[in-house]
């Protein structure tokens, strides 16, 4: 049984849809497994579909899969809220929502992954600068902490300031502050129309035009520049999109979603470059960075993809100099046994994340302790210095 089939069978009942509580609930087994790991002192490597392994360091630990913890728990179309188990495939959730003409506004990459993986890695797609990131849409979570306790934070309502916002804190923590069980999210109606414009530029563009555009009240929902190609996506009511499109000019892309899907899934030819891939998150108005390599500007200039052989220290320093940070993706290298897919390079001892320092490092390390005092979860995957800097 999968989520999609339930969605299809029950499409007409838009008012309220509660699936059986027993459907794909694996939380009891998962919390037992965590408690056992704690008492045995065995670190765990929490995995979903395993599609985000290129993000973060390799983890030495017993694998614990969330794949059996799956399904949409509640979807209230009129409330614009959905509560989903972490093992739910992104693609099936997208379909369930689409049946009601709704969407996850932050447009997460799919790549065969789970919603838990998207949230743990804090992944958002091209729409992010205009509507918000994954964390902005999270309303509540249920997690297992490092003591095997099942805890609930936030809820299914739009405004909730009871207790610390632990739910948003979990997003992008790579499972090192707890195992994500369920996530409640705000969803939004799909826009009435979407349209993509392509501009061929006379000279390689900087982010300046994109930044100026973002300060205007126009229905932007995507913007990227690579070399002389600039793509702009508009979303909203037909009248608003049409009006803006005529003023911006350029040619209209026939399959308007295609460039954004390819960008989100990192399928554009740009990503085939064999050099290592970096993601730089910087102010959109930051000047062009002078690192030698291939650049692709996304998020109106705030997310810059870089293919380079430059040393990690150079990239980190450049990102920091403009008030941002950089993350290196692990590359696939040909496996010795000759599999075509290759294996992920190991990066022992070389940082993939912008190193944390000083009081910030100690604070974040203590925060990790507060959720996972025995460092059971994903030891070393995210900012390994957090696990090395354990306070005395």
């Amino acid at each position: 049984m999968n989520v999609t089939s339930v969605g299809e069978a029950d499409q007409s009942v838009a008012a309220k849809r509660e699936l059986s509580p027993a459907f794909g609930d694996d939380s009891a087994r998962l919390s037992d497994a965590v408690r056992e790991a704690v008492s045995a002192g065995t670190p765990l490597a929490v995995t979903g579909a395993g599609t985000r392994a290129c993000l973060g360091h390799e983890v030495a630990g017993r694998p614990l899969s969330t794949l059996a913890h799956t399904g949409v728990i509640t979807h209230e179309p009129t409330e614009l809220v959905v509560t989903v188990r972490a093992g739910t495939p992104v693609s099936s959730l997208v379909e369930t929502l689409a049946a009601e003409r709704q969407m996850m506004p932050f447009e997460p990459p799919d790549g065969g992954g789970t919603l838990g993986g998207v949230m743990a890695c804090g992944l958002s797609g091209p729409r992010r600068p205009y509507v918000g990131a994954a964390r902005d849409f999270v309303l509540g979570t249920r997690i297992i902490n490092g003591q095997g306790q099942v805890l609930g934070f936030g809820g299914e309502v739009m405004k909730n300031v009871a207790g610390y916002d632990v739910s948003r804190l979990q997003i992008g923590a790579f499972g090192t502050l707890g195992l994500l069980l369920d996530i409640s999210m705000k969803v939004l109606p799909m826009p009435e129309v979407e349209l993509t414009l392509h501009h061929e530029l006379d000279s390689p563009d900087t982010a300046d035009t994109l930044v100026a555009m973002a300060r205007q009240p126009i229905p932007l929902s995507g913007s990227m520049v690579q070399e002389r190609d600039r793509f702009i996506r508009l979303s909203g009511s037909a009248v608003a999109v049409e009006k803006t499109a005529s003023s911006l000019g350029g040619s209209r892309v026939a399959e308007s979603d295609a460039p954004w899907q390819d960008l989100r899934e990192r399928r554009l030819p740009f990503f085939d470059d064999p050099r290592p891939l970096w993601r730089l998150a910087v102010p959109d108005h930051a000047p062009p960075l002078t690192i030698e390599g291939g650049w692709l500007l996304d998020w109106g200039g705030a997310q810059r993809w870089l293919k380079t052989d430059a040393a990690a220290a150079v990239v980190f320093a450049a990102a920091k100099a403009v008030g941002g940070h950089a993350t290196r993706y692990r590359s696939r290298v040909p496996a010795t046994s000759g599999e075509s897919d290759g294996v992920l390079e190991t990066r022992h001892g070389t940082p993939l994340f912008q190193p944390l320092e000083g009081p910030m490092l100690h604070l974040q390390s203590r925060l990790r302790d507060s959720f996972d005092p025995h460092r059971i979860f994903n030891r070393g995957r995210f900012h390994p210095e957090l696990d090395n800097a354990k306070d005395a």
Partner: protein, 523 residues
């Protein structure tokens, strides 16, 4: 909520001495000894702070302390040992190190407009007032950001941004007075957060001082930062984790037009259902507010804005964007309201009329204040589909407690603000009001909501936290607090109840036939 009197105490020297003493001479002597001891501590702390702070940054006389004894929740009062008003970040860092070393509680305060007692002073602590941090450090229209000291007023941000065609979206009712630092502490919302988000969605960076006196930069002008999302954690943390000394917010382009529809309904149910219908249509209004009859009548008497007084409820629905889009949405919203039997539909024809209709809504709280000697504002959030049910139950509770309730709230996101009208001069009425408020909050939790949507827990809703969260979750909150503030110097006793407190509360309020924390001893 416990009876306010229980937490209201004033052992300040001069005032206690002035009160007619009850009890025996021995008791009076004991009280005087406590008072002397407290005055001695006050003087000693003032001396040691004066070693590194200018004299006018330290307030210690009873008259100077009195304005700080409560925030917007005036039922709770306490006099701090001292009020400290630092003028720069270095002073805040020094004060924090001093407080840690001297083991003195620190309570931060902005404009003191909070409604949950989050800035209620600690009797043995200092109140750290950030009013002098009132400068806009940078406003860059090209970058679309404003960098602010925490004492800058919420409305002042939009006023400064307006010449550039920009504004700051979150607009709590108190925006004329409340500060951005307080907004960060409470994750403040407002009328426009339905479409534009809460403080957490609009703040991009903070500079905070930890209890160790470290200055830490959190977030940044990029889309995210390295490490954990501390920005999300600190927004709404009620002064429990660190002291905010700088806030960077994003500014949004002002929408070209905003138009307002007012719809009147013959019963509150229809109005409540119409709210859900609008959202279900895929329309996200800039604001969607509901007022029931008592609120309407009060607001109309106060602001003369032309509300229909014969209606049981009125919805104010604002749509903004480009003109063509707004026109189309106005049409669709009007259809939805008509289908829900709206008795009257009116679209504001001029900007002046639009602002007048909002003025009534925005002055509804003080307007209700004229109907009764006192009112108590509740702040729960519920799933929108439960609106009718919860409004009906509140009507029953209102009758049961014989206390009138006016409802004026952010219907679009299910954030209720029932105003209970009462007279604190009638013995027992405040207590009954608090009990009614507590029942309403528990009702919110029962239907899947929360005990606070935007006002915060503070001291006010600390007991109701025990209803919403179980033991392990509360312990996790305490562990998070300890990661920042291991010895509990920052705003002690607020926001997250101790298990002991929950046990005491549980003994009074049996929820669903089950005692919370059955494993704990009863007191």
């Amino acid at each position: 909520m416990v009876a306010a009197q229980k937490l209201t105490s004033d052992t300040d020297g001069s005032e206690s001495a002035a009160e007619p003493g009850a009890g025996t001479a021995a008791e009076a002597l004991a009280r005087a000894a406590v008072t002397d001891e407290r005055l001695r501590r006050r003087a000693a702390h003032a001396r040691s702070l004066a070693a590194f702070l200018p004299a006018d940054c330290i307030l210690s006389s009873p008259e100077a302390l009195r304005p700080y004894e409560s925030d917007g929740l005036t039922a709770f009062k306490a006099t701090p040992l001292l009020v400290v008003l630092p003028e720069d970040t270095g002073q805040v860092q020094a004060v924090m190190r001093w407080a840690r070393d001297a083991s003195v509680p620190v309570v931060a305060r902005g404009a003191g407009t909070g409604l949950s007692g989050g800035a209620l002073p600690h009797e043995e602590g200092i109140l750290l007032g950030l009013a002098r941090f009132n400068r806009i450090l940078e406003l860059d229209a090209d970058k679309g950001i404003a960098r602010l000291q925490p004492g800058v007023r919420n409305l002042a941000i939009s006023e400064a941004a307006r010449p550039h065609g920009l504004y700051y979206a979150p607009d709590p009712s108190s925006q004329i007075a409340c500060t951005i630092g307080g907004n960060v502490a409470e994750n403040a919302g407002g009328v426009h957060c339905l479409k534009y988000g809460l403080t957490v969605h609009n703040v991009i960076a903070l500079k905070v001082v930890t209890i160790d006196g470290d200055l830490i930069e959190i977030g940044g002008q990029g889309p995210d930062a390295a490490g954990y999302d501390l920005l999300a954690l600190l927004v709404g943390s009620e002064g429990m984790l660190a002291i905010t000394v700088e806030v960077t917010v994003k500014l949004l382009p002002e929408p070209p037009v905003a138009r307002l529809v007012m719809a009147a309904f013959a019963n509150v149910d229809d109005a409540g259902n119409a709210v859900g219908d609008v959202i279900a249509q895929g329309i996200v209004p800039a604001g969607l507010e509901l007022m029931d009859r008592p609120a309407l009548q009060a607001a109309e008497a106060f602001a003369q804005c032309g509300y229909p007084l014969d209606a049981a409820a009125v919805l104010l629905c604002e749509l903004d964007g480009i003109p063509e889009e707004v026109d189309a949405e106005i049409e669709r919203v009007s259809e939805v309201f008509s289908e829900r039997q709206a008795t009257r539909l009116h679209i504001a024809t001029t900007e002046a009329e639009r602002l007048l209709l909002w003025k009534g809504r925005k002055s509804a709280f003080p307007a209700v204040g004229r109907l009764a000697p006192d009112y108590y504002c509740i702040d729960g959030t519920i799933p929108r589909r439960q609106l009718s049910h919860v409004l009906q139950r509140m009507e029953q509770l209102s009758a049961e407690y014989e206390l009138p309730i006016a409802n004026v709230f952010h219907a679009g996101d299910g954030n209720l603000h029932p105003l209970i009208m009462f007279d604190s001069n009638i013995p027992g009425e405040l207590h009954r009001t608090e009990e009614l408020g507590s029942r309403i909050l528990q009702l919110c939790v029962e239907v899947g909501g929360t005990v606070t949507g935007e006002h915060g827990v503070g001291v006010e809703k600390i007991n109701e936290m025990c209803v919403q969260f179980d033991r392990d979750t509360l312990l996790q909150f305490h562990a998070v607090k300890a990661a920042f503030d291991p010895d509990g110097h920052l705003n002690p006793g607020k926001a997250v109840p101790t298990l002991q407190r929950c046990a005491e509360f549980g003994a009074m309020h049996v929820h669903a036939g089950k005692l919370p924390f059955p494993e704990l001893e009863r007191f």
